[in-house]
């Protein structure tokens, strides 16, 4: 009997691993992951450091601010890109005062993209603190923030001087404190060198967050993709009626089990391949760099690799535990959706609520990241369907006590067993039922057969 389950596992595994899609995923997934991580910040810098110089017309009715703006933009390297200025300012000779003629003319220039916008600094700016910014596109926050900052600084300095304070003195006095963060864990080693520990403490947190993000994202995307794969496989067997032949050889629950184990192994194989590649890469990083003519990594990256090296196997062990348990839970449900439907189109509709149950914790995670010890996070992390993502996130960023983790895992296992018992019944009947999809009431009746 066990041999036949292995036959099923083998089929599910080999038919997936042998496809071009599998090879492509192995190569493309890390690339996509990198793009998704890097792209947003890349976009921000691109936006700021675009090649073209942005031209703005300034109405300076105070007569005192324009030259200081010019100087501020000249002096700050932040406003330069490849030796060129990012912002080009032109002072308009006349006053604005809502003059329609000037406005129309400027709007035409805006339309023709000769200028990117215009700024009106009224004469009473030092009292009313009001400056107007006109542009075609108001979502360019970077530019708006830059002007707000530069003009604010000038106005503040002017107001300070008017009251008889020296601006640079005030700035020195107003300096903020530095807050350095340390993650305290039960196993933290004694800090020897306070100075380096300060830097490491902060960077570790960031790298850890990044790593957690990658791992939770993998949990999410693989459950989503390969759960659907289980569903399609159940549907295929049902619509071709192969399932009737198979379940006369093995019990339906054995078929389901073989299927889930087979598909789960495909995912684990991928993780294994990536993990092995990453380890090899980290161990041989210097020879590989030598190929590109570099001696060693830039110091920040060395820091990152060191942190990853020091992360230890426990994080990855938890990853495996929560991936496997989450996968078993969700793919069982996916399989049931496949069993009660008659076509892929139908299944796509029915599966939506299930996908929601996966998407919701993933969405919540971004908020919960910040408050990993809040009651809400703790409660959600113990909801079985949310556990794989949220509990794993909690473990990665905060590490709750071991007993809590163990209880959580026990609850997960109990849920999986329960789900398999209940869903196995529906699956068993569903795969032999054709025609109309059962209603919820009928499903309830099936449980009592």
């Amino acid at each position: 009997m066990q041999r036949k389950v292995i036959t099923v596992i083998k089929r599910e595994y080999i038919t997936r691993v042998k496809t071009k899609g599998f090879a492509a995923s192995i190569l493309l997934m890390p690339v996509m992951m990198c793009i998704m991580m890097v792209l947003p910040s890349l976009m921000m810098t691109l936006q700021h450091k675009s090649d073209e110089t942005k031209t703005f017309v300034v109405f300076d009715e105070t007569g005192a601010i324009f030259s200081r703006m010019q100087r501020a933009l000249d002096e700050d390297p932040f406003f330069h890109h490849d030796g060129r200025r990012v912002y080009q300012l032109i002072e308009h000779p006349s006053d604005f005062n809502g003059n329609l003629e000037i406005k129309n003319q400027l709007n035409q220039q805006l339309e023709a993209k000769e200028i990117q916008g215009y700024i009106e600094i009224p004469a009473d700016v030092f009292e009313r603190l009001q400056v107007s910014y006109y542009a075609k596109n108001l979502t360019n926050f970077e530019t708006q923030r830059a002007f707000r900052r530069v003009i604010s600084q000038i106005v503040i300095n002017k107001r300070l001087e008017d009251k008889g304070y020296a601006a640079h003195e005030v700035r020195t006095l107003m300096q903020r404190i530095r807050l350095t963060e340390y993650a305290v864990t039960a196993t933290a080693e004694k800090v020897e060198d306070a100075e380096t520990a300060t830097v490491a403490g902060r960077e570790t947190t960031f790298v850890k967050l990044g790593l957690t993000y990658i791992l939770t994202f993998s949990l999410y995307i693989f459950t989503l993709l390969y759960g659907a794969s289980v569903m399609r496989s159940v549907l295929e067997e049902k619509t071709t009626r192969i399932v009737e032949v198979i379940i006369s050889s093995i019990k339906p629950y054995q078929l389901l089990l073989g299927k889930i184990i087979g598909v789960c192994s495909v995912c684990l194989s991928m993780f294994l391949i990536w993990g092995a590649c990453a380890v090899l890469l980290l161990m041989n990083i210097n020879p590989i760099l030598g190929l590109f003519g570099r001696q060693e990594l830039p110091p920040q990256l060395i820091e990152i690799t060191n942190i990853i090296k020091s992360t230890g196997p426990s994080a990855f062990l938890y990853f495996l535990i929560y991936f496997v348990s989450g996968f078993f839970l969700f793919s069982t449900l996916y399989a049931v959706v496949g069993a009660i439907c008659n076509s892929e189109e139908e299944a796509q509709q029915v599966v939506t609520p299930l996908v929601m149950v996966l998407v919701i914790p993933f969405m919540l995670m971004f908020g919960l990241f910040r408050v990993p010890d809040s009651t809400l996070t703790i409660v959600l992390s113990h909801v079985p369907f949310f556990s794989p993502l949220i509990m794993f996130m909690r473990i990665s960023v905060l590490t709750p006590p071991l007993w809590e983790i163990l209880i959580n895992i026990a609850v997960m296992i109990a849920t999986i067993v329960g789900a398999n018992l209940v869903m196995g019944k529906i699956y068993k009947i569903g795969i032999l039922m054709y025609g109309k999809r059962p209603t919820l009431r009928e499903l309830w009746k099936w449980l009592h057969y």
Partner: protein, 306 residues
Amino acid sequence: MNLVQVENISKHFGDFKAVDNISFNIEKGAVYGLLGPNGAGKTTTIRMIMDIIAPDSGTIAFSGNRPSADFADRIGYLPEERGLYRKMKVGDVILFMAELRGMNRVDAFDEIDRWLQKMDLAEWKNRKIEELSKGMAQKIQFITTVIHKPELIILDEPFSGLDPINMTLLKDLMLELNADGATIIFSTHIMEQAERLCERICLVNAGKIVVEGDLKEIKKSFGKGSVEIEYSGNVDLIKNSRFVVSCNDFGQYVEVKLRAPEHYNALLRELVEASVDITRFELMEPTLHEIFVQSVQGEGGRADAA
């Protein structure tokens, strides 16, 4: 010796009685027909024999034993609507099904080659199922059903959707396997097929057995209910005869249904006396189709599809 014994099995789904107290025995080496209209309970009965679903009541035994997982390996089953894993290669699909039926790989490899050769599909072994034509896929399906040399072969509507050439091929293979000792159960709603292949039949309708037993006996017991008459003269004489229930005019001849089987002599006398020129007067055995319609209508006209 009976290979399969089905005793008083019933199965209902909710309020619907799919199978209602059915019993029959199948002798070893028989070709057994399970007949009836669509929705009569054939597939449910087969599924219970295959131990895919459990009967609500009644028992099924193989050679006197309760069905076991072990016995599943000695059955070959071709479900009604076939398909195979479309993305898999022909050889791999057959191997998978053979392993599920408990064959070891080495034996399976040999058998796969032998069967593909026999079916003229050897060069398709490494092609994907989705590349095959429908007829080829059906042949592969048949191979997966019989590759493990089952003692009992269950074929659910095996001929539906087959072209005449493949139908003949499949029929010949069925008879060949039967000659080698395999017992065959096959279900169909097309009575002519059953009539040609089966020794024994079980006719079911609305979950109940209508007739069961040796086909020849059944035919005999239903008597010779109709007469074919070739004649020249006035057809109205035949139509209006008091011995005739109905009369079907085919131009060259008429098919006449008698009020009672023993009335044929009376009818012949009547026609001769009325100087109708008769060139042929033949008593016909009832076809399975007629038996079916007759029995089902006797039950209250519940045959909506035959």
